[in-house]
Each structure stands twice: as structure tokens, then as C-alpha cells.
Subunit: 355 residues, 2 copies
DNA sequence: CTAATCACCGTAAACGTTTACGATGATGTC
DNA sequence: GACATCATCGTAAACGTTTACGGTGATTAG
């Protein structure tokens, strides 16, 4: 208490007053016996303030629990401390994983995240969502756009702050950067794994073609087959759901057209497949090899544990956040693509091992 | 164009100017030929402005793309248009489902949501997260606190805006409302279902006791057993993971202590169980009945499709948002508890059907 | 015909910061 | 000893709104 340079009573008065009114920069200045300008300098780590004064101001700030009013700061500087995230409302694995990872990295960079999701991915609702985000004063926006309709809506929308999109396989436009993980590579990895295990008849249970992910994964499967000189296998286009995969696989069984191996566009798709086969007395992997995509929680405890592809959401989030922050703060960052990895488990077998 | 009351040139000039500078309320006023006060009245649906003037102002607003500066509004009114959500960073089914549902309902009520997650649920980091949220100018905060440590940290924290917590089975304190779904009832439903099907030896593969959900679901299981006059079955406490359930179940098999029926604290837990049994030649449901909790995507395509308990996250979100908004806006809302529902599928069998 | 009422509108002050600029005293230089 | 330099600090204006108040002219009441 000996080093207390602040008059006791004044401090106490202010402290009481602050219970009803939030303390301002002026309250701090009064107690510390300096002008508000000096307090502002301390707050912004500006030079031109002596060590002693700085110390004293800092102490007062702590004492009375002063916190800067962000609205006032934003008003005068018109720069922002939060970034907006526009997502489709889907609880699907990819979007949610990306969302969580984005919040995480934004927080570590000192930004708060304001998220808003849009129900139908149509032009006006996307524009409205962008506007709402802008209104809240975000410095930039990252949109998670797994569906092609939504990406198109974003391209056609206008926005005053930088917008960056995470959309597998969509191309960038002048005002909308686009970034994503290399899912085509993931699909190639999965398919190549099947090829390496000796399969030649490799089908694809695709996701929805309304999604970039669905399109790109299919493309990767095709490419891997082509590169290996294999003729394209059966390709069925679905909607990611276990239900669709289940019913479609049952149909295949009835028609006696079950392939040697299947690359399923998602783990949920694989789940439906596996059940259909189990109920039909077809064993995985003995009778048919299956590989999924996503590595959802629990896929290592499917029957059998699923070989699948894992995406690195944190890395993706970090990367796209770097790019956005670069756009906001006016610097340039390079974008090295991120590669997913194959996780080999028990749902794929080796054929003709002694060839 | 005939009804154009705004001088062409003036409007055009301003429109060009607005490319560099965001249009303000004054720009609108100038073009519309009124004072900024009138524009403000139009913006806030205040009376004392003629229909004709209102119309004209509205038209100008649309023409030049004026949008209200939220920072300026927040500064002078000190009321907010966003609510904060504090979550644990876990990607678990419950928290994420709640989060998405909260964003959804907040948006429909005209609020943006700012989310921040906290890595370790300890006192200071929770307090810091609350402060950060407060700084961004939220009107209130909803914290998703599945873990008891986190709830405790919230209780001990201080915050200037209303805080409401979603935590199963935690009690409210004077400054922190607590709300949740009636998970104990859910657990009772699951257990009672097993009892109804003729089981008397009902074990529980519990979740983590660090989580309210784990504690409450266990309590519900105990209560159902007690009410039915059954003696408590085996209870193993885990960590929600398939891995733990798998290994623990294998242990049970080795010791020849597999019970008649098991209430698993989560679908992921059930997944691990089922695999362990499948590998040991024990059939579900013929040899052991299993019921889960969560109804995660795909649980209807497990082998076998899982009987489980589904929570109504949208209803929970709506309810807790109502309560928070009530606290912010100073009105009172009643809180009717929400009941989860049992979803009966194929993982539970009927014993001694002809008794 | 005067006064009161009313609908409508303009103006000043305030919200809590930041920023550009100017002022002060102390120190160093020749 | 006069002058320039420097570190440190104070002050005014601005950011874009809202709110409380005051002021018109037109309409109505007596």
C-alpha cells in the first residue's frame, strides 16, 4: 500500500460510481491524474508516455476494472476486431468441423467470430446474411460453402468487406478468394489404396452433386482409375445419407451387381453400405472392400473399423484465416494447399497377395 | 421514373461519393431534403413523420444503399443486437447441436451471435472469455456448459450482462440462470424401456462424471431401477468414447460377466459395445439388449439399428433464448421443461414374451 | 379573431474513443 | 546564454448515431 500513488478517496468514489456506470477512459484519467490522451496512449501501446505514468495508468485500469468500449473504438477507427462466418445451416461433419476450427484460430489471432447461417442457399438470403454480418462490424467474412448454389450466390453478392470462401474445387473470382482442402487428392488416395490392394472393379457411391465435395470426390475417383489404366466403375449418385446408401446397396445385391470394392463418398454413406451387406450375408472386407471419407467419430468402431480419409480442419482453418487476415490487413500470404491423409483400417482387403 | 422526387444530379453525386465513403444518415438527409433527425425517425419507426416524407426517405435509403452504422448506434444507446455464446470447444454431439440450434433461433429473433469457445474450463480462461464476449458488445450470454468444472467457473465469474447457462442438472444461482433438457427423464425412459421388455439385469456404461450429462443419465438409470424395485445393476464409468466402451466390454466378456441389457450413456459408447460383442460372438439384441443416447446421425444404420434417446435441441435453444431475452429486455418468461423422446429400433429384444 | 392544439420537423448535446496538433519543461549544443 | 531538440503530455475535433427539446405553420375551439 505504500506505493499507492492514487488518492484513496478519489479512487473509492470512482469505484462506487462505476457500479452504476461503466468506467470510461476519462474516469481512468481523472484518478490517475493525467489526461484522457495519455490513457489512450497507454491503451494503444503508443510511445510518448513515461514508464512511471504508464505504470500508474495501468494500475488504475486494473483497480477500477476499466474495459475499452469497442463500439466507440470501432466508430472512430472503423476497423474491427471480429470476423464473420457464414455457414450453411447443415450439421454435416465437414462444415461443422471447419466452423469449430475457424473459431479456434480466430480467437488465437485476437478476433471474435460472429456466425450466421443461411437456410436456403439462394441469392437474396445469402446477400441478406452478408449484409447482416457487415452490419455487425466484422472486418472480413469467411463463408463455408459446400453447396454449389451457395457459392454461386456468394459470387453474385456484393460486400464491402473482404470475403473468402471455403469451397472444395470452386475457383476464385476477383472479389472472392476461394480456398479448400485438396479433397480430390483425398479421393485419389482412397481409390489408389483400393487399386494397390489389387482391386480392378472399383465402384463409387457418390455424394450429392449439389455439393462441391460430392463433385470433387467423384472426380478424384475417376482420375485415379484413369491414371491406373482401369476402366471406370459403377458410379451411383446419392445424398450422403446412410439411408440412400443402404437402399441402393440392397438393390445392387438383388441385381447381383455388387462390385469388388467401393469408394464411399462419406463415412455415413459407408455405414449404410455396410449394413446392407451385413443383412445380405456379404462380408466386408472379405467379399467387398469399402473405404469412406471423413473419419467421423466412431468410424474406427464400425463393423469393421473403416478405412477412410481424414481432413485436417485446423490446418484448413488456419490457412484460410491467414489469407483473410492478409486481405484485411493488406499483406500477402502464400497459400500452400493442404493434403488430407488416408487412414487404413479393416474394411479393405488385399486380393491375390502372391501375384 | 415520373415519381422520382429526388433531383437526379444530387443523387448521382452522392452515389459516386458513396463508393469511397459509406453513406451516413446525413447523406440520406441531404438527398431527401430533410434533416438527419427525420431520417433517424424513419429508421426507428418513430411517429411524427408524414407518410410522404417517410416514403421519400425510404426510397433514398434504398437508392444509395445506406446501412446503419451499428457501432454508432451501440455507442449512444448502449443496447445491443447480438448475443454471445460461450461453449466448450468440444465437437461432441450435444454441445454442437445446441450451438447450431442457438444460432438459428437467435437469428430468427433478430440477433447476431458471437461465439467463443474455451479450451480448458478453468476459472481465469472462462472469465477471460466472458470478458471478451462482453467487450464485443453482446446483450447477454448463453454458456453451453456440459462439464461441471466449467459450470463452476461460470458461477464464480462476474459479468455485466445477463448470463444463462445450459447445463443438465446444474442448479441456478442468483446471477446465473440454468436451463437444460430433462436428460434424467431421458435416461429413465431408456431404462424403463429395457424393464418393459422384461429385463431385470440392466447395466449402465456411463459417461464421464466430469460432465453433467454423465451424472444425470446415471441418476436416471438408478432411479428407474429403484422405482421398478430392481436391484442396481453393474455401472462402469467411462469417457464417452467408443474405445473405452469397446475395451471395457471385452473385459466383461473375458470375465463372463456380460449383463442381459445395457443402457449406454451415448450412441458412441453403444457403438464400442456393439463391436466388442460382435467380435466376441455375442449377438445384439439376441444375447444382450443395448440402448444408447443421442440419436447421432447414422445410429439408425448401426448393426443393429440402435434404440436410443433423442433430445430436442431446437426446442431447448428456443427455450433458453426466450429466457435470456427475457432477462435482457426485462420481461418474464415461464420455463416449461423439455422432454426427450425414446426412439425404439432393433437393438433391444423382448424377453419371455408369453409371460 | 385569438388562443390553443396538433402534426411535423429541425437542432444541440451526448455516447467513448482516436488522431492530429500544439504546448510545456528539461536537456543538450555552440 | 540563446537556441534547438527531445520527451512527455494536454486539447480539439471527429466518428455516426439517438434523444430531448424547441419551433414552425396549419387546424380547431371558444
Amino acid at each position: 500500500m505504500a506505493e499507492m500513488t492514487v488518492p484513496h478517496q478519489a479512487a473509492e468514489e470512482l469505484r462506487v460510481a462505476s457500479r452504476r456506470r461503466k468506467p470510461t477512459i476519462n474516469d481512468v484519467a481523472d484518478i490517475a491524474g493525467v489526461s484522457f490522451g495519455t490513457v489512450s496512449r497507454v491503451l494503444n501501446d503508443a510511445p510518448d508516455v513515461s514508464a512511471a505514468t504508464r505504470q500508474r495508468v495501468l494500475q488504475v485500469i486494473k483497480d477500477i476494472g476499466y474495459r475499452r468500449n469497442r463500439a466507440a473504438t470501432a466508430l472512430v477507427t472503423s476497423r474491427s476486431t471480429s470476423i464473420g462466418i457464414l455457414s450453411d445451416g447443415s450439421p454435416r461433419f465437414g462444415p461443422v468441423g471447419t466452423l469449430m476450427a475457424l473459431e479456434n484460430i480466430a480467437r488465437k489471432k485476437g478476433y471474435a467470430t460472429t456466425v450466421i447461417s443461411v437456410e436456403q442457399p439462394y441469392g437474396e438470403s445469402v446477400q441478406a446474411a452478408l449484409d447482416t454480418l457487415d452490419d455487425t462490424g466484422v472486418g472480413g467474412i469467411i463463408v463455408i460453402a459446400p453447396m454449389v448454389d451457395m457459392a454461386a450466390a456468394v459470387w453474385n453478392a456484393s460486400c464491402r468487406v473482404p470475403v473468402e470462401m471455403i469451397a472444395a474445387g470452386a475457383s476464385s473470382t476477383p472479389n472472392v478468394f476461394t480456398y479448400s482442402e485438396n479433397q480430390e487428392l483425398g479421393a485419389r488416395l482412397a481409390t489408389q489404396h483400393l487399386i494397390d490392394r489389387g482391386h480392378t472393379d472399383i465402384a463409387h457411391f457418390a455424394g450429392s452433386m449439389d455439393w462441391f465435395d460430392g463433385r470433387v470426390r467423384k472426380r478424384g475417383w475417376e482420375a485415379a482409375l484413369r491414371d491406373a489404366g482401369l476402366k471406370p466403375g459403377l458410379c451411383l449418385e446419392g445424398d450422403w445419407s446412410p439411408k440412400w446408401a443402404y437402399e441402393t446397396a440392397l438393390q445392387l445385391v438383388r441385381e447381383n451387381k455388387v462390385p469388388q470394392a467401393i469408394f464411399a463418398a462419406s463415412d455415413h454413406t459407408a455405414l449404410g453400405l455396410i449394413r446392407a451387406f451385413a443383412e445380405s450375408g456379404i462380408r466386408v472386407p472379405e467379399d467387398v472392400s469399402v473405404v469412406g471419407f471423413d473419419d467421423i467419430e466412431g468410424s474406427d468402431y464400425f463393423l469393421p473399423p473403416l478405412t477412410t480419409v481424414r481432413q485436417d480442419f485446423p490446418a484448413l482453418a488456419l490457412m484460410s484465416m491467414e489469407v483473410l487476415l492478409g486481405a484485411i490487413e493488406g499483406r500477402d500470404v502464400d497459400r500452400t494447399p493442404i493434403a488430407p491423409v488416408l487412414v487404413v483400417r479393416d474394411s479393405t482387403r488385399q486380393v491375390s497377395p502372391h501375384q
